[in-house]
C-alpha cells in the first residue's frame, strides 16, 4: 500500500482542507467585509483629521514639527487594526475544533494516519494564512498614502509583521478554546474573554509596583506591538509573541490528547 511522505504532507492536507472550508462558508466573507469596512472607516477618519491638522500647520509653522504620515496615520491605523483583530479572530478560530467535534468529522480525521500535531499545525497555519490575507487587503491604505505623500516603508513592513504575530498569538489561544468545547459560540466567547483579559492586564501595571508592574506590562499582549509600528523589531517582543503562540499550541495539543481519552 502507498504510505507516502507523512509529516509535511499531512499538514498540507489539513491546511488545504481548512482553507477550502473557510471560503466555502459565509463566515469568511462576513469577517472580510467587517474588517475592511471598519479599518477603512478608521483610515478615512485618520486621514481627514491629519489633513485638517496639516492645513492648520501650513498657516502656523510651529505646529508642523513632528507632523508626518507615519506617526499621524500609519501607526494609529495599526493600533486600530489590532483592536479589530481582537474582535474578529475568535470568529476565525471558533469552528476549527468545535465544529468538527460537533459534526463528528473530527473522529474520522483523527483515525487517518496523521499525528495530532499535524492536524493542529494544519489548522493553525490555515487560520494564519487566512489572517494574513485579511491583513494584506488593508495594504491598500498605505498604497493610497504613497500616492500623495512619502510614508516610511520600514515601519509599515514591521507593523504588518507585528500584526501577523499578534494574530498568531490570538489564533493559538482561539484554537485552545475551540478544542475545549463542541459549541462554536462557547469557543468564541471563551477566546474573546481570554484575549480581552490579555489585553487589559497591562492596566494593572499602573496600580502595581516594582516587579509586578513590569510583569503585567510584559504580559499585556498589545504593548508588544508598539515597537513594531515604530519600525523596530525587538527581540523581547518577538520572543513574547512566539512564546505565547507556542505555549497555547502546546496546550491545545495536550487538550486534544485529553479529549482522546475521554472519547
Amino acid at each position: 500500500m502507498d504510505i507516502g511522505l507523512g509529516g509535511p504532507m499531512g499538514i498540507l492536507a489539513i491546511f488545504k482542507k481548512e482553507m477550502r472550508v473557510y471560503f466555502a462558508s459565509p463566515i469568511a466573507y462576513a469577517v472580510f467585509t467587517i474588517f475592511l469596512v471598519i479599518s477603512g472607516f478608521f483610515f478615512y477618519t485618520l486621514l481627514t483629521y491629519f489633513s485638517l491638522i496639516s492645513a492648520q500647520a501650513s498657516m502656523n509653522p510651529g505646529l508642523a514639527t513632528g507632523l508626518n504620515v507615519t506617526d499621524g496615520i500609519v501607526r494609529p491605523l495599526f493600533g486600530n487594526m489590532s483592536v479589530i483583530l481582537l474582535f474578529v479572530m475568535p470568529l476565525i478560530t471558533m469552528r476549527l475544533f468545535a465544529e468538527e467535534r460537533k459534526q463528528g468529522t473530527l473522529e474520522l480525521l483523527l483515525t487517518y494516519p496523521v499525528r495530532d500535531a499535524e492536524v493542529l499545525l494544519g489548522k493553525f497555519l490555515a487560520a494564519t494564512a487566512f489572517s494574513g490575507l485579511l491583513l494584506l487587503t488593508t495594504a491598500l491604505y498605505p498604497l493610497l498614502l504613497a500616492l500623495w505623500s512619502e510614508p516610511e516603508l520600514y515601519p509599515i513592513l514591521t507593523g504588518y509583521l507585528g500584526l501577523l504575530l499578534l494574530a498568531m498569538a490570538f489564533i493559538s489561544l482561539g484554537l485552545l478554546c475551540s478544542s475545549l468545547t463542541e459549541n462554536q459560540i462557547v469557543a468564541a466567547t471563551l477566546a474573546f474573554g481570554a484575549l480581552l483579559l490579555f489585553w487589559i492586564i497591562g492596566w494593572a501595571a499602573m496600580l502595581a509596583e516594582g516587579d509586578w508592574a513590569l510583569l503585567f506590562r510584559y504580559l499585556s499582549i498589545v504593548d508588544h506591538l508598539a515597537s513594531f509600528t515604530q519600525g523596530v523589531i525587538e527581540t523581547k517582543d518577538l520572543v513574547y509573541y512566539l512564546g505565547v503562540t507556542s505555549f497555547f499550541l502546546f496546550a491545545t495539543l495536550k487538550s486534544m490528547e485529553i479529549r482522546r481519552w475521554k472519547g
Binding site: D2, K16, V21, L108, L109, V114
Partner: protein, 318 residues
Amino acid sequence: MIEVQGLTKVYGNKTAIDNLTFTVEQGEVVGFLGPNGAGKTTTMRVLSCFMPPSSGTAKVNGYDIHTQALEVRRRIGYLPEHNPLYTDFTVTQYLNFVGEAKGLSRLSRRQKVGEVIERCLLHDTREWIIGRLSKGYRQRVGLAQALLGDPPILILDEPTIGLDPKQIIEIRSLIQDMQGERTVILSTHILPEVSMVCQRVIIINGGRIVAVDTPESLTHRLQRSTQVRLHIEGPPDQITDRLREMAGVLRVETTDGAGALHRYLVETEKERDLRQELARVVCGSGWGLLELRPVDMSLEEVFIHLVTEEPDSVTVDR
C-alpha cells in the same frame, strides 16, 4: 487480522467495555451484534485508534494500537456511526482530501479516488456537493472514504442505519463484495443483516462478549426447545387438548385459522423429535393433516434470548 486481548474502556465510573477478548482472521467478515449501549461503538473507536483503551491491548495486522497507532491507522478504513462528512465539499474534493490525509501521492491519489468512485457507484454524483446528496449516496461516500488507500481492514459502525430498504441492499452488497479480499468488522443491531453478510457473529451486551459463533450454529445452539408448526382440519379444542396430553409436548398454541381449519404451534422438548408421533396422533384421530414442519428459531429470537439472560447462564465462547 485483529487480536484483541482483555480490552477495557471506562468512562468516569461507567464501564463501556469490559475485558473483551476475540480474534478476527484475515478475510473474515465479522458482525458485532448488540443492543444500543452494548459497547460496539466504543470497541470500534478503540480499534480504529480514535481513543486509547483504559486497559488491555489489541493488535491489528501485528501492530499494537498503543505503540504503533499510525501504522494501525494506515491499515484501517473506518466508517463512524453517523457517517460524518464535510458537507460543503463535492464528492471528488472530499475524497481527494481523504487521499491526501491518508498520505497517497498525487499520482496514485487520482487513480485510487477514481477506483473508489467506480466501486461505490458514485460516478454520476462525483461533482455534487455532499450536503445535497441523499442519505444512501452519503453512505456510499462514507464507504468510499473508508476504502480509499486499499486498507486491508475495514471497520464499519452501523453501516446501514437510517437507510431505506433499497439502499440497505446496495450497501450490503458492496460489503459482501469485499468478502475474502478484506477483513471486515461491522456493527449492527439488525439481526438479518448479520446472517446475510457475516461469517461470524460476536454478540456483546453490557460491555461483555456473550457469544461468538457462526450465525447458523448460534441459532442451533440456542434452541432450547424445538417448535413444530401444524395445519390441521378438525375441532380446535379437542385437537389442542389431545396434543397437550402427548409426552414431550411443552406447549400448544393456536396461531390463526377459521372454521375447522387451524394452525398450531407445538413446542416440544429439545433433542426430541415428535414429528412422527404428532402425525400419527392427528391422523389416528381422524383429523386432516394439511401441513407439518419444524420451525428454525430465527436469529432475532436468539438475540432476544441472549440479551435478556444473565451472561453466566450462556456458555461463553472465547
